[in-house]
Amino acid sequence: MTTSTRRSVLRTTAWSSLAIAAALAGCTKKEEAAPVAASEPAAASAAAAPASGASAPLKIAFAYLGPVGDGGWTFAHDNGRKALEKELGSQVQTTFVESVPESADAERVFRDMVAQGNTLIFGTSFGYMEPMLKVAADNKGVHFEHATGYKTADNMRTYDNRTYEGAYMAGVIAGGMTKSNTIGVVGSIPIPEVIRNIDSYTLGAQSVNPKVKVKVVWVNEWFNPPKETEGAQSLIDGGADVLLQNTDSSAVLQTAEKNGKYAFGWDSDMTAYGPKAHLASSVNIWGPYYIKAAKDAINGTWTTGKVWWGVKEGAIDLVSISDKVPADLKAKVDKVKAGLKDGSFSIWKGPIADNTGKEVLKKDVVADDGFLGGIKFFVKGVEGQVPGGK
């Protein structure tokens, strides 16, 4: 037994000498620490007083859920960041960290962003809500923007896109293009946003084709191409011939292409991934909002709140509509777009019933944001129940 004791002691010595060596190496890098520390007081004063145009650029940081190359959700956010850089040029300096997990690790990333001198920080996924709140509480001089969440603070606000508007327009096309009167959705996680999208897709399809039925499968993840493929395949095998997805990769579109069916791109333009199957893409355009948020921070007009932009503000669009879509169907989509832009058209206007027959929206009543935020039911025409109960 003494062998292991001695070995442990020797090991302790070995590791401590390594640590000492590392610490010594650290001393030589002290010069690097200086600029980082210097920017902290600079950041604090920049946030306290409105910065004039000639002062140091606003340092902005983005936390992404996935890799920039995912071709979907994160790709769209990064496009928004690039648009921000292009518009504001030398007034801003942006950095990003990708694949930040939605766990306790996120808090560390946000704290490091603050320590690096960033005063406007974007967290692009729901799961960053609690970590951001904690870091926001400790850093009152920094502005935090959280996407798709619902908790705010004096220095933290939420922003989101009305993705359901894109889903509705896709539904209009789907309802017109389906031959089997069955369309499908590959759902990610059963949160209100996704359920609302499924419902809006259904409402859109039913507006041109009242007989249409909608089938749903849940992958239970945002991003898992093999599972998305399997889910899409099972929908197609079950008779669906136009697919929508709420997941982040192009697997669903590719599966539709393989089977000779139709599908939509989601979050970004996915035409290239399935040229024969692609009917249109519902895209998130984050540029306009990011530019506004940066300008708010620069001009000192930043306030907390909840922002929900859609087609009207240029944040959502249905793009790259394929030539296979007949002209009259395209015209219907254009009419919806125009109506959403000028506010004359409401997607969620009664009478709407859920798929058990209960009426959820009376005739001519327009749903407000509160109603929309809490949707937990499937509308009539969607098969199955929402997972996790009422």
């Binding site: 004791t5 442990s8 190496a25 766990s103 560390r108 962003m113 619902y150 996680i189 949160i191 935020g373």
Partner: protein, 363 residues
């Protein structure tokens, strides 16, 4: 040609030098990678080995990350010494988190701080229960503990999802999959104000001492190790292999569950679908790099934590890809395994090779 020649006895010098050699190889490989990616190798290495130590906050984060790795790694070290290959520590971690959350959610505004104890106990019991399934199936049905424990990881993840999407979902949470945020009374006490390191780290250090005593000073620990090294000899000496199996799995399951409880009542503060962070699998490397020795596990968990945090910093400060951390960890483990052979074998140059190796290896 080069030949491996067995040493008459394991070389003590090599058993110390081997992890250092492995670390050196990893550092060199890292420097080469950074250069390939067009980044300054010294800055890259600084991100991994220097930055994580700079400042109280940084060191605190290092300890926070090392805590679950240490706790789980200690349990696995005991388990592997008994030759029971529990690969499913991740699932036991999740079950510990679930059980701890179950207790934490019952706290009310006027619960005393002592509720932390039942929360931690629940975590231990949860992890043990999940490992008990593995033990039972191996005991009664001879089913491989590697495969059963691994399959149970997937089942545990789905169970977690089932709870946070359904029965345990926060009713005021707008339908998002998470439980309520646990009340203040349930939070694991922190060691210093403003830093995230909590008593979990202290518990881990205490565990290192406890496990060292168990393995090297207590008869039960000795029995388990003999059972793992020489099953026939153990049987002959009357050590029950069944008991060794159950003790090994209960300990490693309990430790994993405890780690889960600390995570969920500590840094996270609620039960979410993102609780499984891969600690159960990383701890396997930690146990192995630590040579299945509690003191070794202490250092290897800090090293592994260093890689994780260094990887994050390399990403956010230098724009290096996240996958580098995985590459580092893999290279470290590989080089360690390779250089470990030098403990038992010598490299020799032979002009003409003999018919058989010079000496037989020690059994």
């Amino acid at each position: 040609m080069l030949q491996l020649e067995a040493r008459p006895a394991p070389s003590r010098a090599m058993s110390l030098a081997s992890p250092l050699i492995a670390l050196l190889v990893t550092v060199l490989a890292g420097a080469a990678l950074f250069a390939l990616l067009g980044k300054d190798p010294s800055r890259g290495l600084a991100m991994f080995f220097v930055e994580p130590f700079r400042g109280a906050n940084a060191v605190s984060e290092l300890c926070v990350k090392a805590t679950p790795l240490m706790l789980i790694g200690l349990g696995l070290a005991v388990c592997y010494r008994a030759n029971v290959w529990n690969i499913g520590a991740e699932g036991q971690f999740v079950l510990g988190a679930i059980a701890a959350s179950g207790v934490a959610m019952h706290a009310s505004a006027d619960s005393s701080h002592w509720i932390v104890l039942p929360i931690l106990l629940a975590g231990v019991l949860g992890g043990m229960a999940w490992a008990a399934i593995v033990a039972f199936l191996r005991d009664r049905a001879n089913a491989s503990e590697i495969l059963v424990s691994l399959m149970l990881v997937y089942v545990a993840n789905q169970l977690l999802n089932y709870l946070v999407y359904g029965a345990w979902k926060d009713p005021d949470g707008y339908g998002f999959p998470q439980t309520i945020t646990f009340l203040d009374a349930t939070r694991i006490p922190r060691l210093f104000a403003g830093l995230r390191v909590n008593i979990g780290f202290v518990a881990a250090l205490v565990s290192v001492a406890t496990f060292w005593l168990f393995l090297f000073r207590v008869y039960g620990g000795f029995q388990m190790q003999v059972g793992g090294l020489a099953a026939a000899a153990a049987r002959y000496a009357g050590f029950s292999s069944r008991r060794a199996l159950w003790v090994a799995l209960m300990i490693s399951g309990g430790m994993a569950g405890l780690a889960g409880a600390f995570e969920v009542a500590g840094p996270i503060g609620q039960l979410t679908p993102y609780v499984p962070a891969g600690y159960g699998f990383a701890a396997i490397i930690v146990a192995y790099v630590g040579r299945l020795n509690p003191v070794g596990v202490l250092f290897s968990s800090l090293l592994m934590s260093l890689f994780y945090i260094g990887g994050e910093l390399a990403q956010s400060r230098l724009g290096l890809p996240k996958s580098l951390t995985g590459v580092f960890q893999g290279v470290l483990l590989f080089s360690l395994l390779a250089s470990d052979t030098l403990i038992n074998y010598r490299v020799r140059w032979h002009a003409a090779h003999p018919a058989h190796p010079v000496k037989s290896p020690a059994a």
